[in-house]
């Protein structure tokens, strides 16, 4: 592997939100990237300088650092073990950064399986506003062996991507993402519950938002999402499907670890209800509508929620 961070070849299997943000920055600094992903042929990256690869195994074999979306790799028919599996393509000195929306324990298990090859395995996650991903305000979280974190941090720093190294245990980055997302989702549903109560007294969303934010009730939902709704803007800092995955991880890990998951379980039930009711493309306004519909506060649809918000 080149000692010059800017001359390392970085590979991507799958182009989820983290990978897309990193690829854009790397290409902007003329750092070589090779990718295998459906998005490569789309408008976003075609002809941009990223080298298309025919398979996940080719990416893993050729790159110095590989951002490996496990789910994407498996979707493309790759396996971790066995003939032709990704493990065969790994070698000592390579750095693999696991990206996954699976639970932290699954990430850790995949990491252990791949680490027997001598490659350095890390995991990466994100716990902030997706729109600011890679900035100082919303760095990429990285965890794993220190040597690997140093290599990846240097490469990403050369591309202007902010990194927060948050531990030496593979899965820790994903766990922090799970904790942060659960806290966000729980505070959001508690806030929506308060909004539903205020609606029953015909209080305006603007007044409620201002009062909540004036004191100790302030949270991301009250300070960012509700003002966006009032302004008629879209604000989806995280997909509802992603919230549900994190909530499921939180509750399952909590049960095994012996930690209470009272609010996480409650929030999971509500969000699950929302997804069942509005479908897999449910949005955050759908969740507000769900809570309001339980209170029969008079808004007949998610669009009705937004119309009422604007009044």
């Amino acid at each position: 592997m080149s000692a010059d961070a800017s001359r390392r070849l970085v590979g991507f299997v799958g182009l989820g939100s983290i990978s897309r943000a990193i690829v854009s920055r790397l290409l902007g600094k003329s750092i070589d990237c090779t990718c295998v992903a459906d998005e490569l042929a789309s408008g976003n990256f075609h002809g941009s300088g990223a080298t298309p690869a025919p398979s996940a195994a080719v990416v893993v074999r050729s790159a110095d650092i590989v951002f490996l979306d496990i789910s994407e790799a498996i979707r493309r028919g790759a396996t971790l073990s066995g003939p032709g599996g990704l493990k065969e393509a790994l070698s000592p000195g390579k750095v693999v950064v696991l990206l996954s929306e699976d639970g932290p324990e699954d990430v850790a298990a995949a990491g252990e399986e791949l680490a027997v090859t001598g490659a350095i395995v890390l995991d990466a996650a994100h716990a902030g506003d997706a729109g600011a991903l890679g900035t100082d305000a919303a760095p990429v979280l990285l965890s794993g062996p220190e040597a690997g974190c140093s290599i990846v941090s240097a490469t990403l720093a050369a591309a202007g991507v902010s990194v927060d190294v948050c531990g030496n245990k593979v899965g820790a980055a994903r766990m922090l993402n799970v904790l942060d997302t659960t806290l966000f989702a729980g505070c959001m549903m508690a806030t929506f519950e308060g909004i539903a109560l205020g609606r029953k007294m015909n209080l305006s969303l603007a007044t409620m938002t201002e009062a909540i934010n004036a004191g100790s009730g302030r949270n991301f939902t009250s300070s960012v999402i509700l003002p966006a709704m009032i302004a008629g803007d879209s604000c989806e800092p995280a997909p509802v499907s992603g919230l549900l995955k994190c909530l499921r991880s939180f509750t399952s890990i909590g049960t095994v670890a012996g930690a209470p998951t009272i609010f996480a379980s409650l929030t999971r039930s509500l969000v699950t209800n929302g997804v069942r009711r509005y479908g897999g493309s449910a949005t955050i306004p759908h969740l507000l509508h769900l809570v309001e519909s339980m209170a029969d506060s008079g808004n007949d649809s998610p669009a009705g929620v937004i119309r009422a918000v604007k009044q």
């Binding site: 922090l176 549903m189 015909n202 100790s216």
Partner: protein, 294 residues
């Protein structure tokens, strides 16, 4: 306008001290110690409630519950029997909006106007003039008392008609308590997983999960630092009221009910006079961990 203030507890006393900077304030409390303390700071103690009512055109109250407000105002021998028509009553209790509406109607029949004006923030915010004052009442009523309230703090929010400020205070309190308990829940699982509290704090407080509770609690959790000044008994009273009002209005208060149960557990375990920060121990006990050393 001549001001009378009834209820000189932690918040009532702090607000009176703020008012004394610009006004003459007549005060009354059943606790003579509170009366004497504020008399020593320039307040004019009233021997009886009726005396205070006769002298004051504006009566402000900060009592534990709306039932106490009703007793002081409307029970036999209550203030309404002595107060002059045209007087204003400002209720700064964390009250029941339904009760407030009923009392406002009864007072209106006697040509007395009620405005609900609970505050957001603790005694130190009061001392610094940084309370947020929520107001519920007509535009005319609120405008009449706006200069008076702004002498306590410039942060005034007219929420709507009478009762709306009390409703918003309950909503805010409910969300705040849920935020706190959710922060403990997430910190507990992260800690059991092996994540250092300072790392959890650093990541969460820069991310989607950040809230006032996480900003105050997480950096201090390992040292059990104080983040608020609120006794568990009062915290339970407030969240209990939010749940009850939710039921009255037909809103399933799922999160608030969960919060209520945990606050009650905390109160049973640590006592009603324990500070709200002690709720961390409820989670510690459930998970079998200790965040730091006391």
């Amino acid at each position: 306008m001549t001001i009378g203030y009834i209820g000189l507890g932690v918040m009532g006393g702090a607000i009176v001290r703020r008012l004394l900077r610009q006004h003459t304030v007549h005060v009354y409390d059943t606790n003579p110690v509170c009366m004497d303390a504020l008399a020593g700071e320039g307040a004019t103690p009233a021997a009886e409630l009726a005396d205070l009512a006769r002298q004051c055109g504006v009566l402000m109250l900060c009592l534990p519950t709306s039932a106490d407000v009703r007793r002081v105002l409307l029970s036999p021998g209550g203030l309404v029997e002595s107060v002059a028509p045209g007087a204003m009553v400002i209720d700064q209790t964390t009250g029941d909006p339904g009760e407030t509406l009923e009392m406002a109607a009864e007072l209106h029949r006697r040509d007395i106007t009620l405005v609900d004006a609970p505050v957001v923030g603790g005694p130190s915010a009061a001392a610094e003039g940084k309370l947020a004052i929520l107001c519920g009442g007509s535009d005319d009523s609120v405008n009449r008392i706006r200069p008076l309230l702004e002498s306590i703090s410039p942060f005034l929010l007219h929420c709507g008609p009478t009762g709306s400020a009390h409703m918003l205070k309950l909503i805010k309190n409910g969300i705040s308590t849920c935020n706190r308990l959710l922060t403990y829940e997430c910190a507990t699982l992260g800690y059991k997983y092996g994540l250092p509290l300072d790392v959890i704090s650093r990541v969460v407080n820069r991310s989607l999960g950040r809230n006032v509770a996480s900003e105050r609690i997480l950096p201090r959790l390992s040292s059990y630092g104080q983040t608020a000044s609120l006794r568990l008994g009062l915290a339970l009273k407030d969240i209990d009221l939010a749940v009850e009002v939710g039921a009255d209005y037909g809103v399933p208060m799922l999160s608030a009910n969960a919060a209520r149960a945990l606050v009650e557990i905390g109160m049973h375990q640590m006592g009603a006079s324990a500070n709200i920060d002690e709720l961390a121990h409820v989670y510690e006990r459930m998970a079998g961990v200790t965040f730091g050393t006391r």
